[in-house]
């Protein structure tokens, strides 16, 4: 292969056709709260790990819906399960349990 000194930029394209509905239903079966998140970002605002990394539960849920679960799992690796997010969630979501369920459902390791 020829090196031209420049190359393709990684695509930021979101292909919703790749959304795995069965997997999402599997997650929703053990964690129905995933459906009621309104993406307000309160969890992100108070996240302890978020001060040092890009950890964001709101973004992780969006990533799953945007057919990018690997990105979501990687993001949640930094979570310390401190539980501050569950205290501020206006929908009363058990966020720690949700984070563990997402990691368990979508983790490939």
């Amino acid at each position: 292969m020829v090196d031209f000194g420049f190359g393709l930029v990684p695509s930021s394209r979101i292909n919703l056709d790749l959304f795995d509905k069965d997997k999402y239903e599997e997650l929703a079966a053990v964690e129905p709260d995933v459906r009621i998140c309104m993406a307000c970002g309160s969890c992100t605002a108070v996240c302890t790990a978020g001060k040092f990394s890009t950890t964001s539960l709101r973004e992780a849920i969006e990533d799953i819906k945007n057919a990018q679960p690997a990105k979501a799992v990687e993001m949640l690796q930094a979570c310390q399960l401190c539980g501050k997010c569950s205290m501020v969630c206006p929908r009363g979501i058990n966020t720690r349990h949700l984070i563990l369920s997402i990691t368990k459902t979508y983790s490939t390791k």
Partner: protein, 355 residues
Amino acid sequence: MIYEGKQKIWSEYQKEIPDDHYFYVRSCIRQSFFPASEATFLDITRNRLGKDIFETEHHTTCGGIAYHSDTIPQETVMTIIARQFALMAKNGYENYVCSCITSFGLYCETMETWREFPELEAKIRENLWKTCKLEFAKPKFLIHASDLIYKYRNLIAAQAVRKLVNVHTGEPLKVVEHIGCHYSKMFPSKGVGGAEYPYVLTGMIEAWGGEIVDYPERRHCCGFGFRQYFIKGNRGYSLSNTHKKFESMEPFKPDLIITNCPGCPYFLDRWQYVIAESTGKTYGPDGHGIPALTYEEVAGLVMGYDPWDLGLQTHQIGPEPLLDKMGVEYDPAKKYLGKNGKNIGEPLPCTCLKG
């Protein structure tokens, strides 16, 4: 559907294109990219259709590349453009037709700016007189050369010796049409079909027997973007634009891409080589690419011009599979022979891309 209503709406997307008597201005880069396209335009309009198209050797670049690269101020560009318009008036014309989409967009932008800011127009009028001693004038009609071929599309079809049809299957060729962004995205009312339904190339393809491919990224930029390709560090963005378009059109298996901008055929053509050589991916059948031609070259092919006289050997993507599909006769031995019969030099073979 109320047919009259649809007709009324569509009429708002139309553009008045005079039939004859034009002052023609060439592009500064097309002659080095695809050198025969402008000559073919002049030959078709003047000699085949009998139109009055005048050009002068005194005109210059419009300054568009420098303007869009932020290297010269707008007033300088406007004075350059005022000089072009003055040359038109000096030679007795009031219809202005330009070969380049960047120029066309810039002329539209300049005319609109003068309309909005008459004091700026007065200043440019003064600049023109001080620098060139020429009288300021504005064209009555500002047209892109593809508008003119669009207007003459049925006259060209009447003289066509072949259609955009696969002679082996009898099926119409699948054609991707790509319109330069500066044609109607900036000033929708200046283009045939506006920015929403640009029809200038579609009309040609339909008149010449081809079938339009409607794919998701149809209106996406080709990747020309001045500041993207000028700087090597940014060139990946240009390449990625083109890559996105090709990934989107690939499932539709197009036979041909037709364009009306100087940069689009260049980048849609050359970046296929770069994508192939750097990633191994090709978009045509059997390791070939998809030929990206200018509308003059396509018009020339349907009117029976020799493909080597149209300059198709200057394309990175070999045109032979397309010529075979269309039933165009050509002599492979003459591909790299110039007008004087001497070899013009051949490119080295590619590793991944055939042709």
